[in-house]
């Protein structure tokens, strides 16, 4: 696991979040209650002198873990978030492409339309999946949420795109450079509150969080942040190995992303 300089990572993330806030007046952030988007919000608080200056969207399909709902309630209150809960429907298909693709994306689209957001902060990281390595920090999406990855705007130094299909939006990726281990090191150094599902219970813990239907716990005895970091230093498994959607079909992530999934 590749550890990087946390100060440098954090400075770049702050620059990107401030730039996005200034460039796109009507901006919101996605919050899954997972470690990455929670870390991003912790950084945003530092960037803006203790406040999160944009609405925070949680796409709620009603089948998240009870621990997550409690975590959402507590942290939203503690950090004084302007929280928008986007209800998504669960249809018959229970996991992967159809669930994350159709249901969650539909809910997000509805919210984006309703609030007319022109930019959305999404806490993806390059090391999560090969496809994500291709992402820009500022990445335009069409109204249909399509990602034209073959024709992305040049991103020279800090000249991010301001080009915007009037009906679409721009995805902002402030923690694109971070690796999984960096997130945990940052959480440890900054005491970032974290969803308890990441900690081992009865020999199992979640390493990556989806909803109850498509996330599988991994064998682990890591009961706190220190133990998680120790575990990651020696692990041979991929972070998202407990996420079914990544495995269903060849290139399923690619399809999900072209469709606008996070």
């Amino acid at each position: 696991m590749m550890e990087q300089d946390l100060d440098k990572l954090e400075e770049k993330s702050i620059f990107i979040i401030r730039e996005a806030k200034e460039k796109f007046g009507n901006i919101a952030a996605l919050w899954s209650m997972g470690k990455d988007s929670t870390t991003m919000l912790a950084i945003a608080r530092k960037a803006f002198l203790g406040k999160i200056p944009f609405p925070v969207i949680h796409i709620d399909n009603g089948i998240d873990f009870p621990e997550s709902y409690k975590f959402r309630y507590d942290l939203a209150k503690k950090w004084n978030m302007d929280l928008i809960v986007a209800k998504s429907e669960i249809k018959q298909e229970i996991s992967g492409f159809s669930c994350c693709g159709a249901n969650k994306t539909a809910a997000l689209r509805k919210i984006m339309d309703e609030y007319k957001f022109n930019a959305l902060i999404v806490s993806i990281r390059r090391d999560e999946h090969g496809i994500r390595a291709k992402e820009r920090y500022f990445s335009p999406r069409t109204k249909e949420f399509k990602w034209d990855y073959k024709n992305q705007p040049a991103e020279l130094w800090n000249n991010y795109t301001s080009k915007l299909d009037t009906k679409g939006h721009v995805r902002i990726h402030p923690i694109l450079d971070w690796n999984e281990i960096d997130i945990w090191n940052y959480i440890r150094e900054n005491d970032v509150p974290i969803n308890p599902l990441y900690y081992s219970k009865n020999g199992l813990r979640y390493r990556s969080l989806g909803c109850t239907h498509c996330t599988v716990a991994l064998k682990s005895n890591a009961r706190n942040v220190d133990q998680i970091i120790k575990e990651l230093e020696v692990t041979e498994t991929e972070e998202r190995s407990g996420r079914q959607q990544d495995k269903e079909k060849e290139y399923v992530m690619e399809k999900l992303r072209a469709l606008g999934y996070m």
Partner: protein, 409 residues
């Protein structure tokens, strides 16, 4: 830990992705699962195991055998992290290549010694652009020597051509040559037994030694702060900004450009907390004695510095679209994510990035370089690229159309 950035340059099919794929595997920088996936895909499309598939993760790329967009890969070696940035090699993808070349300082160019491949025009363009944008050292990996019987003369032929070219474009920074076979992992990590005539270090150690010597850009001591926005702070308005160079402390006087007036720092916030000083590379929030003339795009300089704000200057450019005299007011330069309108653009000379030859010209054709004179609509703080890279490099646009990139002379 410091991440050492390396830009990969070179024509497609000359083996960049294979170099990185094999380095990822042999340094254990990639999980077993990812290697398995690449193996499976190789089988599915009926090819022998191709390490490049670890890098080229888009289906289209695997099928067409080229890297469509900028890709990054982190390699851990000898207690350090090397971030390789792989850029596409096709001419029509030059636009994306420059996105890649824009963040690496030490470059590795992969050149195939195989018959019919060699030191191509495309590879020369890559080197030219990288040298324009601050490449401080170049490592030339001469690849596919397995096809040429690991013959030293074939290696030396390529070295000769590259040395000659670098002389023509005036690249006077350190250069090292390493003979390799990426596919067979010869001279990547371990010294190759197949090339006993080569007495230098293998590729990875060459990179490590170059990074130690030339990897860290010298930071200027003069204060340069780019202002991103003005916001409400705890008690007063604050300027959010990035300290590009120098370090600042409370009480220090600053000159605001392009406004020209001076002010002083009342309070500094670093990572949300009040601080007495701030070093280069940090994002700050500043309370100033007078913030009225400070706005997005302003640059704050040390009060003793000469004023850099100007409206006429010359620049070296690399054209994506044809460039010629333009006074229609529709073009602008994008610098630090700000759009700065241009009153007039005049082409002075054209430079061939393939041969390095320079001649008087009124236009610059696509994928070529040259010298232009710019007149801005109003003064803006720009600087010589060599003195302050952040304030000396820009992209040219006409509306949303990307015309080219430039560095201030």
């Amino acid at each position: 830990m410091i991440v050492n950035r390396i830009t990969l340059l070179g024509q497609k099919d000359h083996g960049k992705s294979t170099v990185i794929g094999n380095l990822l595997i042999s340094t254990g920088s990639v999980t077993a699962e990812r290697v398995k996936e690449a193996r499976k895909i190789s089988e599915q499309i009926g090819k022998p195991f191709e390490p490049a598939f670890i890098m080229d993760s888009f289906s289209e790329e695997r099928e067409q055998g080229l890297t469509i967009d900028t890709t990054r890969a982190d390699i851990a070696y000898n207690g350090r992290i090397f971030e390789f940035i792989d850029v596409p090699g096709h001419l029509e993808l030059m636009k994306n290549m420059m996105s890649g070349a824009s963040s690496g300082d030490v470059a590795v160019v992969v050149i195939s010694a195989k018959r019919g491949e060699g030191f191509t025009a495309q590879t020369r363009r890559h080197i030219f652009i990288a040298s324009m944008f601050g490449m401080r050292a170049l490592i030339v990996a001469v690849n596919k020597l397995d096809y040429m019987g690991y013959d030293e003369r074939k290696f030396q032929n390529i070295c000769e051509m590259v040395r000659d070219y670098l002389g023509r474009i005036g690249f006077d920074k350190p250069v090292e040559f390493v003979p390799i076979s990426a596919y067979s992992s010869e001279n990547l990590i371990k010294k190759s037994k197949k090339m006993p005539w080569y007495d230098g270090l293998p590729l990875m150690d060459t990179i490590g030694s170059f990074i130690s010597k030339y990897g860290e850009a010298p930071k200027g001591k003069s204060v340069r702060i780019l202002v991103q926005s003005i916001a409400d702070g705890a008690s007063d308005k604050v300027a959010f900004g990035m300290v590009y160079s120098g370090s600042i402390k409370v009480g220090e006087k600053l000159r605001v450009q392009p406004a020209g007036m001076t002010t002083a720092i009342k309070k500094i916030y670093l990572k949300g907390l009040s601080a007495k000083s701030a070093p280069a590379g940090t994002n700050v929030a500043l309370e100033l004695a007078d913030i009225s003339k400070v706005s997005r795009g302003s640059v704050l300089y040390g009060a003793a510095d000469k004023p850099y704000s100007m409206n006429r200057f010359e620049a070296k450019v690399f054209a994506i679209k044809r460039l010629e005299r333009e006074t229609n007011g529709r073009i602008h330069m994008k610098i630090n994510n700000n759009d700065v309108p241009i009153r007039a653009l005049n082409v002075l000379r054209a430079i061939s990035p393939v041969t390095g030859s320079e001649e008087k010209s009124a236009s610059i054709s696509p994928s070529n370089s040259g010298i232009i004179a710019l007149q801005l609509k109003s003064r803006y703080p720009v600087e010589n690229f060599e003195e302050c890279a952040e304030l000396g490099r820009f992209a040219l646009y006409e509306g949303n159309e990307f015309l080219g990139i430039g560095t201030v002379r």
